[in-house]
Symmetry: C2
Subunit: 280 residues, 2 copies
């Protein structure tokens, strides 16, 4: 359900790994499904959610975060008993419990988050090896069974990912730090360069730097997707945005007042906290 | 003069290209020069600035920005007539005029800035091909001669770089946008992650994301070097830090108030300005 970078990569990778005999791709927009067919990501496509899941052993919810409840309600009665349902949402919060509550007890539900997206999106960004060597987080829900967890784990392992389980609350706080805040920073940085004087913007275009390219890379991501993520995870994200704004202001003050020692200490502190969190 | 990533790479690349018969490396600290010798970056090393330049056809000033005037004063009377002197400073401002004024009229001075640094620094980060395919900016000074410009251009071209000339003032405004502001953003982001709760920091370490890695990459740079650059270029940099702080605050407000449309517009604007400035 939803054949973008993640859904399409699960389709491609799952077929390559022999997990799936047949993949039906569901989408709302026919032009997008046309592209899915042209790329050969699925065996068939449909704009009918119930038709998509009618015969399915495995259902992957890879639609935007806020579209999930509506999709779940529309498929709940069409699901095959014993089917495995997974979502791949980037924010958990109360969503996994909510999805589980909307599903019949005859199916297995496992809430997953593979850490494998990039700034590219849409069906063209799908790759069979997207999950190879990456981590996939599973946030257990109240009704999760050992059998369901094992099926989901086997699926991700077949796609090349290593599975870790984590409570939804901790998941959201960690993702706010290692993913959502970096995206906010990149969008803000890119936005700050939107009003350069014409001669500066023109010269900037001719002088590509790796620092700007990398620091702003994820600002090329889907705005619609990140808008959802920021809003859904606002509770964990807002305090970190405040911390970023405070740090930025401290650096600015140290530069403006020519406070050498203070500026050095602030840069050293950033360097040190990055070294603790980001593997070399 | 100064055998870090840039100075060491010019030494290595210049010898590989047949530009230099002999390279003497100057540094203040003997432990650093010991490393320079162990890496084979120079034919000889010395802690005497005058001894280093006495016989030199070409002198490369690759010491930290604020150390340049002192070094220039100490070598001015020892320079060979006709020698080419270049600096590789990341901020120009009035520094090139100042260096030129301190040098005897018998030498040729050209102020250069190769866009080739990375977050790695020190002699171990030197590479013969560091400048291959990169740009090098030359900021002409009042006394620059066509012959001096040609010698400097030939040097950078032999190292694989493409040379562009640009007024020092425009250089500093462009670099504030494409390099200095991204470094401020990366240091602030990394610093903001310095006070995570222990369980969040611990989980973050186990969940490497490409977004945090790339967005914060340049916060691994030399704090001492960037402290100098931020302070030297404060006039061009501070208005951009203000723009970044404003944009960050706008994004925060849109998230806090759940203003979907406004948040989407802010992210779209960041995406669009990045697309204008950063080549795909």
């Amino acid at each position: 359900m939803g054949i973008g970078q993640l859904g399409g990569s699960i389709a491609l990778g799952g077929r390559a790994a022999g997990l799936f005999d047949w993949v039906t791709g569901f989408g709302r927009r026919d032009d997008s499904l046309q592209r899915v067919r042209a790329l050969g990501l699925c065996d068939a496509t449909t704009t009918s959610a119930t038709a998509a899941v009618a015969d399915a052993d495995t259902v992957v919810l890879a639609v935007p975060l806020r579209a999930i409840p509506g999709i779940v309600d529309s498929i709940a009665n069409a699901l095959r008993p014993g089917a495995l349902i997974i979502d791949v949402g980037s924010v958990k919060g109360t969503a996994p419990r909510d999805i589980e509550a909307r599903l019949p007890p005859t199916v297995m539900f496992v809430s997953c988050h593979p850490l494998a997206g990039s700034e590219h999106f849409g069906p063209d960004a799908a790759r069979a090896d997207l999950f190879a060597g990456r981590r996939c987080l599973i946030c257990p829900t109240p009704r999760i069974s050992a059998a369901a967890l094992e099926r989901a784990r086997a699926l991700w392992q077949a796609l090349g990912a290593e599975v870790l389980t984590m409570p939804a609350d901790l998941h959201d706080r960690v993702m706010a730090a290692v993913s959502h805040l970096p995206h906010v920073a990149a969008y803000a940085l890119a936005g700050a360069l939107g009003q350069l004087a014409p001669e500066v913007e023109s010269a900037a275009r001719d002088l590509p730097t790796t620092s700007l390219r990398d620091t702003s890379r994820v600002a090329a991501s889907s705005s619609a997707m990140w808008q959802d993520i920021f809003l859904e995870n606002r509770a964990a994200l807002l305090p970190l945005i405040d911390a970023l704004a405070t740090r930025l202001d401290e650096i600015k003050e140290a530069i403006a007042t020519g406070n050498d020692a203070r500026l050095g200490a602030l840069l050293d502190a950033g360097r040190a906290s990055r070294a603790r969190i980001v593997p070399a």
